[in-house]
């Protein structure tokens, strides 16, 4: 009985299968029209699917918006980073630009004085760590031929003199230091002799002292080295007279000099390794000429 039942079931299954597959075979992928049942189901399916799609779209939009916020945040962080990098790059390029200008000016000066001095270019690598002395450290030393008492200048004017040397560095006492006295004179008149000394302040101001009370000196005149002390070569520009007054004793005159060199922005300098004989003769001749004229 069970066997009959089994075979009966098997036959039923096979029949159902044959019927279904035959149906599938004859309906296929494309048809001209649906059956009533299919039409009914399609009629139900359309609004359901449409509603579900609408809901899904809203959910997708919501999550899309969240993702978009995330993306924007990420993009914002990236852009901020990029701005930082670019700002750094711009600063660097600006530095290069300024350095380029400075170096070009130095080069022009060097070329203009090629017959006067043997110049060595040096970079300022440090300043005196204490508050007492106005000195700078240069990256050139005895290995490069630097010696004590050599004059340090820029294209703008006098900077100071070398006071200490080591093989790879040297220390320069700036003329704005109160110890950095320089023999000076007025470039326009050549005759007014005096001594320029620093005030121990980093304000690029010097005082010219020891001038006779009738010395011809006026605001706007240029002060240059006199070369009399034997340390600094003559004729190197120091600064411009900004004020003239009598000393308290009334016997001497005093002038306030603003340096041509900006000591707060000192980055590259020249060390005068040697002054040419021609330059010295030239300076001497000019002095004599001035003397004769007077």
């Amino acid at each position: 009985m069970t066997r009959y039942k089994f075979f009966g079931n098997l036959v039923l299954i096979v029949i159902v299968l044959i019927l279904l597959l035959t149906g599938a075979r004859f309906t296929g992928m494309e048809r001209d029209s649906f059956t009533i049942l299919e039409t009914g189901i399609q009629a139900v399916k359309a609004p359901l699917a449409s509603g579900a799609t609408g809901v899904i779209q809203k959910v997708k939009d919501f999550f899309g918006m969240l993702k978009e916020i995330d993306d924007l945040r990420e993009e914002n962080a990236l852009l901020k980073k990029r701005i930082g990098e670019l700002t750094q790059e711009i600063d660097l390029l600006r530095d290069y630009g300024l350095e380029n200008i400075r170096l070009r000016e130095l080069l022009d000066f060097k070329e203009a004085h090629i017959n006067d001095f043997e110049l060595l270019t040096a970079k300022v690598i440090g300043r005196d760590p204490s508050n007492w002395y106005s000195t700078i450290i240069l990256n050139k030393g005895t290995n490069d031929g630097v010696q004590k008492d050599m004059t340090v200048i820029t294209h703008q004017g006098l900077v100071g003199r070398v006071i200490n040397t080591s093989p790879r560095a040297s220390e320069v006492l700036l003329i704005i230091d109160q110890e950095g006295a320089v023999g000076a004179r007025v470039w326009e008149t050549r005759e007014t002799l005096g001594v320029v000394e620093g005030r121990g302040q980093d304000n690029n101001l010097l005082t010219m002292i020891h001038m006779a009370h009738d010395a011809e000196i006026a605001v706007g005149q240029t002060i240059v080295t006199s070369g009399l002390a034997g340390i600094f070569p003559p004729g190197i520009k120091i600064g411009e007279v900004v004020a003239v007054k009598d000393e308290t004793s009334g016997l001497m005159k005093q002038a306030e000099i603003k340096t041509f060199v900006d000591f707060n922005r000192l980055e590259e300098v020249f060390i005068i390794l040697e002054v040419s004989d021609l330059y010295q003769i030239q300076q001497e001749l000019e002095n004599q000429k001035e003397g004769l004229e007077q």
Partner: protein, 166 residues
């Protein structure tokens, strides 16, 4: 009553397959909720019920798809029948049983679909069969943890219990 619930579940499943699951395609496949319902139902109710529900929901799917009418009915009919044979042979309290049955059932269903579709004139390439069969089975099986617990409760004590009448 349970047939009404099953029909409703089938309808929800079909709508989801038509809409939401298109957003959840993984490895080129989307899950088949109707198949999951058929297999799990057959596992609790035996071959006769499994075959019947497979046939009915497959039929509904064919109506939804409106092509090769009978193809889904045939594959789900046989899959439900075969899964139903395991009703008395499997210990359903063990969670791995439905996982294993769903996985195997999905493999069998894909093979049957491939076989029947080629018989009725819809040529599926063998290469596509091998590309789809495993991800499809894995994806369907992944639904087991979310569905089985409520299906178990419903089939043993709830609305899908066999003696529950309309």
């Amino acid at each position: 009553m349970r047939y009404v619930v099953l029909a409703f579940l089938g309808l929800i499943g079909l709508v989801l397959e038509t809409t939401l699951f298109n957003e959840l395609i993984v490895a080129g496949v989307k899950p088949d909720l109707i198949l999951i319902i058929v297999i799990l139902y057959a596992l609790f109710n035996g071959p006769r019920q499994g075959a019947f529900v497979g046939l009915t929901l497959g039929f509904l799917e064919d109506l939804f798809q409106a092509k090769y009418f009978g193809l889904n009915a045939a594959t789900k009919f046989i899959t439900g029948l075969l899964a139903g044979f395991l009703e008395k042979r499997m210990y359903k309290d063990n969670f791995f049983v439905p996982v294993l049955v769903l996985f195997t059932g999905s493999l069998v269903h894909t093979l049957l679909y491939f076989l029947f579709s080629n018989l009725v004139g819809y040529q599926i390439e063998t290469e596509k069969l091998w590309r789809v069969i495993l991800p499809f089975a894995v994806y369907n099986t992944c639904f087991c943890p979310f569905i089985y617990s409520s299906f178990y409760k419903s089939s043993t004590k709830g609305i899908l219990k066999r003696n529950t009448s309309v």
